[in-house]
């Protein structure tokens, strides 16, 4: 069966990889839940993921909000629905664009750095050294990163939501000539708790996926500089794809009727 053979092989490889990843994730999560945790290391990762991602997430958010207002205007002006812009901006940013774009940017910034750092530690035997010094690498390296990713992404997205809406506000007021008071009122009227909360839940899931992919690919990297490079690429690509896929399913969970 020359046609079925490669298909079967690809399927087996895929299933094996899924199994490995699941075991890795289960092991990592179990270490997040069992003491001792390392508050110093968690704090360091929180600063790395949360604080240092602020500029890139903020820039992404403000330009996204600005272009959203501009595009909606050119579209909606055709059937005189310009007044819906505050509505469109707040819903799009809080539900989708805030979490997804922040997630993708952080995947590029943090996921890559994590895979490179842990991958280098792997190929230079630093992870073996941790083991021989009776320190579990899952507890010392991976758990702090997962916890930091899980908690910091929602905060980043909250900031991105505010900045994104502000970007839309700036363009609407100063370029499109909206009345500031009316725009603000419409924005606040259309803002719903469920939109914001669904965005924050997404952010938490994305934060987990980004750090998990960074750690997983770094931890399993082999073969020197090339292996670390491949791990970095895989971490970013797989995190981005998982973000986009899981985004759909979380949306369905929250909003499907």
């Amino acid at each position: 069966m020359p046609i079925l053979q490669p298909l079967g092989r690809a399927l087996l490889i895929f299933l094996a990889a899924t199994g490995r990843l699941t075991l890795f994730a289960a092991n990592a999560v179990s270490h997040c839940l069992r003491p001792p945790l390392y508050p110093r290391l968690i704090g360091r990762q929180m600063i790395e993921i949360g604080y240092y991602s602020l500029p890139v997430v903020g820039l992404t958010a403000i330009f996204t909000g600005m272009v959203l207002a501009l595009q909606s205007y050119t579209g909606f002006a055709r059937f005189s629905a310009e007044s819906a812009i505050p509505n469109v901006v707040i819903v799009s940013i809080t539900r989708e664009l805030g979490p997804v774009l922040a997630g993708l940017m952080v995947a590029g910034r943090v996921g890559a750095a994590m895979a490179a750092e842990i991958g280098t530690m792997r190929v230079t035997e630093q992870i073996d050294a941790l083991d021989t010094l009776a320190t579990n690498p899952f507890k010392y390296l991976i758990a702090p990163r997962l916890i930091a990713g899980l908690t910091m992404l929602p905060l980043l997205v909250l900031v991105a939501d505010v900045i994104g809406v502000f970007g839309g506000y700036v363009v609407s007021i100063y370029k499109l000539g909206f009345n500031p008071a009316t725009y603000m009122k419409n924005t606040l009227d259309f803002m719903e708790a469920q939109d914001v909360i669904s965005g924050l839940v997404k952010a938490s899931v994305f934060g987990f996926l980004i750090t998990l992919m960074g750690c997983y690919h770094g931890y399993r990297s082999r073969g020197g500089a090339q292996g670390v490079g491949a791990a970095t690429t895989n971490a970013v690509v797989s995190a981005s794809i998982l973000i986009l896929c899981s985004n759909y399913f979380i949306t369905e969970l929250f909003f499907a009727k």
């Binding site: 530690m121 035997e125 073996d128 083991d131 021989t132 009776a134």
Partner: protein, 263 residues
């Protein structure tokens, strides 16, 4: 099997160890005994599985078959807290020192004390600086970062880290590789001194015969996944094993054939 066992239970006892990577069978039924207080050096060519042997004993790699006993306790298949308890008996000097880049030199040396044993940082720092002094590095080196050290200094810091917890057993993975002959000899002297002072059992792997002669009581030769000769270091020159003879004299011709194709 290294001869002349004074104790009935050796510190480390390896029997019929098998380990493969894919279809490459690296260890093919390896047997090795390391008696308490002995210094055994395993010699063998590159890629013969010397590092794999050490990693199997430390539980970093899981062998397919065979038994490894440390103080009479089976470690193959051990995990979690039991494995951590066994690992506390060990110190290891890695080939490229494997210092943690994100920690300063003294934090590296103190790592086993602060993380493994939960000692307070101030107390651990004192011990770390004492261990650095023992390998000939001043307290100012403790404040540096691993990236700022030369190869010889990294090895010495790695040695200080390996002895910081005063382990019962110390592994040395190619301690002199990548060093100039003088620095290599300095490291050899330090290893002999540290092992002697701690009364530790040492297992080293190397292909540097000068280093092997200096630090070993017993030498074992690994070839084709098995220990093909083992004996006291004094007997290595008079043994009539052609493999050992070829290796210690570093000849290209002999029973060990390197797989090289003609250009």
């Amino acid at each position: 099997m290294t001869a002349a066992q004074s104790d009935s239970v050796p510190k480390i006892r390896v029997r019929n160890l098998h380990k493969s990577f894919g279809d490459k069978h690296v260890l093919k039924g390896l047997d090795l005994d390391v008696g308490a207080g002995e210094s055994v050096v395993v010699i063998g060519g590159s890629g013969t599985g010397k590092s794999v042997l050490l990693k199997c004993i430390l539980g970093l790699l899981v062998p397919e078959e065979g038994s490894i006993e440390v103080d009479g306790e089976e470690v193959v298949g051990m995990s979690g807290q039991d494995l951590e308890r066994i690992r506390r008996k060990f110190g290891m000097l890695f080939q490229n020192a494997a210092l943690f880049d994100s920690l300063s030199v003294w934090e590296n040396v103190a790592f086993g004390l602060t993380q493994g044993e939960g000692m307070a940082r101030a107390e651990a720092k004192e011990i770390a600086l004492a261990k650095l002094a023992a390998v000939g590095l001043g307290p100012e080196v403790g404040q540096l970062w691993p990236a700022e050290l030369s190869g010889g200094m990294r090895k010495r810091v790695g040695l200080a880290r390996a002895i910081a917890t005063e382990p019962e057993i110390i592994f040395f993975d190619e301690p002199t590789t990548g060093l100039d002959p003088i620095m290599g000899d300095v490291i050899n002297d330090l290893i002999v001194a540290c092992v002697h002072e701690l009364g530790a059992t040492a297992l080293s792997i190397t292909h540097d015969m000068a280093s092997a002669r200096k630090i070993a009581n017993h030498i074992a030769m690994l070839f084709d996944g098995k220990i093909i000769w083992a004996g006291p270091v004094s007997e290595i020159d008079s043994c009539d094993n052609p493999y050992v003879d070829q290796f210690i004299h570093g000849r290209a011709e002999g029973p060990i054939q390197m797989e090289v194709r003609a250009l």
